[in-house]
Each structure stands twice: as structure tokens, then as C-alpha cells.
């Protein structure tokens, strides 16, 4: 069963569309379910990769 804007529906009644994105910042996948041309469910999963660290520094006394 899929949670949709019209309540829980059997997956077999819906058109499933999937996509993905991968770059230096993230790996993302999403899934959509459509009913007669109407988007009734969309979920997304973003896997964050990393961000630049804070650079810490100890100043020279000279």
C-alpha cells in the first residue's frame, strides 16, 4: 500500500516514476506515484556527503 493524497492505495493502481541525482554534495533518490495524471505521492531521500570543515588556526606569536 502506498500513502497518497487520496488515502492508502494499492501500488498496482498507480504509475511509478523514479529518479536520482549524484554530485559532490549529495546522492538523492526520489519516487513518485501518479494516478490518472495527478501526482499523489512523492518521497525523497537525500544522502549528504560532506561539507568543508571549519579551519582552526593557532596564530604565531612572532
Amino acid at each position: 500500500m502506498i500513502t497518497t493524497t487520496k488515502g492508502d492505495m494499492d501500488e498496482s493502481l498507480l504509475e511509478k516514476r523514479e529518479g536520482s541525482l549524484d554530485n559532490d554534495n549529495e546522492t538523492t533518490t526520489w519516487v513518485e506515484y501518479w494516478l490518472e495524471g495527478e501526482l499523489v505521492h512523492r518521497s525523497a531521500h537525500v544522502a549528504l556527503k560532506k561539507m568543508p570543515p571549519i579551519v582552526a588556526e593557532a596564530a604565531s606569536l612572532t
Partner: protein, 166 residues
Amino acid sequence: MANTQAMCTSFMGQLLNGGHQFGAITLVSRTSLTAPTVDTFKAALYLTTATVNASTTAYSASNEVSGTGYTAGGVTITGSPAWNAPTATNTSTTAGTAFTTPTASITYTTVTLATAFDAVLIYNSTQNNTAVSVHTFGSQTITAGTFTLTMPANTTAAALLRIATT
């Protein structure tokens, strides 16, 4: 207007004053506080039209997402513990990295967020909602579904929060 991935500058200053508690620590007494409890951190989502970045000092509901199933302020970063124990590792005699990452994914379950969003603000809800960091991603909407943010590996090279010398 755009969101920009960054460590919040105010957060760095607060670190020098011991203003955030990601994990357990035993302190030499500062009058009375020797074993402070770990703070609670939350994650709020922001619209693509928001401007959250290094200058963000605290959580604000301005330009935060809204919709069915989403509560203003976002969700609490959960886990047991919520964050990996902050770790400091030397990489040479002059360099090293301190780092931590939430132990679990951040999940917004059964929400409808019809307006595009592309950023999450991590903030300390225990300490007056002070901002920690902003993380951006490709623009998303959610329809009667779940939005999940999976954390990077908790390593010197990839942890969500890293303080490094080079």
C-alpha cells in the same frame, strides 16, 4: 535569495565559550556545573527562497517550509546518543580534525511540502535555538511522502561537523 551551505559563524564563537554540548564531558568545576547534560538539537527545512547561511545566528520560522505533517521548528535529531561522541584525531604534529555526526538519519514522515525547499538548518534547541550549520541539497517537494536526510560517514574526511587544522 538563496541558501548557502556553511558552518554558522556565531556557532564557532559559541564553541570557544563552551556554548554547545554534543556529547558527555566531565569538567573541572566552574562554580557548580561539572557534568552538563547533552543539548537537544533540531533540524528545520527552508524554502529555496530563504536566505540561511553562515550569517544565520538562530532558528527562525521565516521562510521555513510548511505543510501537512510538518511542525514549525522541524524535527529533533534523535538517536541513542543523538550524536556520535565528538572525536579529535591528530593527522600530523601540526594538524588534526575534531568531528561529529548525528547517529541516525533525519526523517520527516508523511508530510506534504508543496513549495520547493533546498536547505536544512541544524540548531541547538536547548540553547535558545542557536544556529549550528546549514546544509543544502537539490530542490525538493514532498507529496504525502517521507523526506529523509542520511548523514555522511562519521570520519575525519566526511563528518557532518568538522573542525580541522591543516
